[in-house]
Subunit: 259 residues, 2 copies
Amino acid sequence: MKEDNASYEAYLFDLDGTIYRGADPIPEAVDLVNRLRAKGIPYVFVTNNSTAPPRSVAQKLRKMGMSCREDQVLTTSMAAASYIQSRGQTDPSAYIIGEAGLKEAIQTAGIVEKEKSPDYVVMGMDREVTYSKLAAACTAVQNGAFFISTNADRAMPSEQGFVPGNGSLTSVVSLASGVDPVFIGKPECTMVDQALQMLGVRKEELLLVGDNYDTDITAGIRAGIATLHVGTGVTPAHEISSKPVLPTHAVPTLSDWHL
Amino acid sequence: MKEDNASYEAYLFDLDGTIYRGADPIPEAVDLVNRLRAKGIPYVFVTNNSTAPPRSVAQKLRKMGMSCREDQVLTTSMAAASYIQSRGQTDPSAYIIGEAGLKEAIQTAGIVEKEKSPDYVVMGMDREVTYSKLAAACTAVQNGAFFISTNADRAMPSEQGFVPGNGSLTSVVSLASGVDPVFIGKPECTMVDQALQMLGVRKEELLLVGDNYDTDITAGIRAGIATLHVGTGVTPAHEISSKPVLPTHAVPTLSDWHL
């Protein structure tokens, strides 16, 4: 790992486990974001959560005491919509399983929602998923729709314990259709590549900050950018040194990161 | 493979692809069942379909021109309920995802349906499955409920193409909880073992007849009974000779099977 006083032109932050834990901000993270802002260093937040639109995410972060505009948020839903746009098809249509965040992102990108013979099937977390939605996705994929899933997270925490995440819901369609989707979220590097565009910086200028080795840090490694692991979330600090590819930097909390 | 004039004391028939195709009876199969009845040779029908109660299955077969009592039908739902009973627990409770066939089988076996802290989670095909049902199953399994799934079939045919089967729905709970279920249906040998009890015969006296190598024939092989592959369904006759373990017998249609 490199020494921890390296300087970067721009920052990319994971959210849960890095900036906050559920509803609770992590004070050291809030402080780092405010230090970046004071120095005029740009930053973007990236999240595998597909359910919330960017304005809700920005609002939540502002309430926690950070400056955050809507255009500083990149969700997997927005990234999925951009991915479809980047494929250059005229008037693409999509069958959507997902919540408001995904529906809005698809609509904003000018992609038409359609159940019969869509060009794409896009699956995101949907707490109102039903058998008939899953069956419609499955038959559309078999009929040739391009299959996209916002993220592969198998489970997510709830008050009752872990409940199914979008990766588990997606498995219904991939197992039944025999077709694997293109996953958009971390650990894929799609969102990092899009964030580089948003920030207008080169790979060597960007630092990705995250708590989860298997999603955040791996996405940064795959994208070829520098990574900073922080021990405030999923992957404990002591596990990091045994990983096959190390993050560029690692700190116990973000108060240990100096600009 | 043995010569095809071997005689058996009892028969175990798969249904779809062996006795009928969807709503259409296979005449050679109907004829064989009637020949067995005329000779007084007992038979039982076994199906991985968990949604229909045995009286509906028996009724469907009678309408197709075969003699079939309710006690000659063994569904995965009945087998799942018997499996729970065989574990010898006093007053077991279960959280059920499934349709009428599973709910009735569980109730008939005296197992109490319960969502909070059940002893078992039993999943069968449910065309009205929702996220909240899947989440309840997932948290119950994490809290220690014994996890049972009626069958692992990933897809099933519909007019629109293949739609998700119970194996795909089950994957949501197994991936999210990290716990694999005990599967009851074929290719497991649970139902063959239960059919031996129902028929009161020894393993060497029973012949399993089925069209699907990977479910029917494999269940018979695992249970250590003789098997007859019929080429009227899923696995084509020409694929059988290349299987690592051959069925005991194989015929193109059941008119080629002599008693």
